[in-house]
Symmetry: C2
Subunit: 210 residues, 2 copies
């Protein structure tokens, strides 16, 4: 397996393939051609083959892909053959919404601990435990949590990220509208919702919608 | 200008360049080489030149890019030389968070109207007006709003999207964890936060962090 060379867009598409394979499995479909998988995902079949080729040989010529098998293979490649515990830092409006976000569980993630500087009067879903922010390092180390979501005020995000990294977190999803920079060894994804809107306006402008 | 052929990743990077150019401008820097811009954005200089080449000739050989000029050019290309009014549908936890999200204003967007089936007891920021969901079509048509954000329950998302499209919305950012499908003519971006976490676990797994 070629390490570290896989483009982020490919990884994003793996996640999409997984979603489509789940649908196929629910519909009782056992084998799918790259053409049909492509149609369902909205991705060119040649692109699918190229994406999967990073990770080995998949599918059988003239038959296609075995749905269940390919699904398990992609899950393994993506590290999704286990449930990941996730810590959330910042239980404001956005944090509360993220704790209730159905999409994370669907993907095999468990938001099991949350931290805030204010622990009174927060509505925390069942299965999640709220701690004061001062306990962040201790709880994360004790539970061996490797993934965290930051949804604090943007002015606090960098500091929180550094504390998380020191406590052993290796992957951070940052929703604060500021780019976090961390030393190598921690993967940070900055989710910039403004950028998402800009991508829309770009396409609208191209099409002459003003 | 080649229309409709520009990859989404390129558009995402334009947005990133814009962010970096804003920073440079704030720091009083007037000219930047593609090397320095690349370092700041974390993008290969050759990639920057290639991305910009889609839209014309930018920069001066041996000098670099004029910060203010390139910034204005990218804003024009992306349709960001005006303020876009945005409608938000679904004022629950996530919707409320999005209404307060600082990142949208930073990017030149104005969330000016919001809709929900429940209008009592919602905390709506100044400058935004809350309407009952039944008024969606009327308000959007009257104000000529072209952009909308969906943050309703996933079971309602498809129907809301169709209503928005009928009312004249041309671009939709969907936060409900379900893929919305609309006829050509409306651009939909499904923001799947689960996928964001999956991309993290992929890189963590590659690096042997389990």
């Amino acid at each position: 397996m070629r390490r570290f060379k896989i483009p982020e867009v490919t990884v994003g598409r793996l996640s999409l393939y997984l979603r489509c394979l789940n649908e196929l499995e629910e519909e009782g479909i056992e084998v799918v051609s790259s053409l049909d998988l492509g149609r369902r995902c909205g991705v060119n079949p040649a692109q699918i083959r190229k994406d999967l080729a990073y990770f080995g040989e998949f599918g059988t010529r003239g038959v296609g892909y075995y749905v269940k098998e390919l699904k398990e293979d992609i899950k393994r490649v993506m590290g999704l053959n286990k449930i990941w515990e996730v810590a959330l830092v910042g239980v404001g409006n956005l944090g509360t919404a993220l704790l209730r976000y159905r999409g994370f569980q669907q993907h095999g993630f468990k938001l099991s601990v949350a931290f805030d500087i204010q622990t009174e009067g927060k509505e925390i879903p069942e299965g999640c435990q709220l701690y004061h922010a001062s306990e962040m390092e201790r709880v994360i180390k004790e539970r061996g949590i490797k993934l965290a979501i930051i949804s604090v005020h943007y002015s606090q995000a960098q500091e929180v990220a550094e504390r998380l990294a020191r406590a052993g977190v290796k992957g951070i999803l940052n929703f604060a509208p500021v780019r976090i920079r961390l030393p190598r060894g921690v993967v940070v994804r900055n989710v910039d919702m403004g950028t998402e809107l800009e991508i829309l306006t770009f396409y609208l402008t191209m099409k002459g919608t003003r």
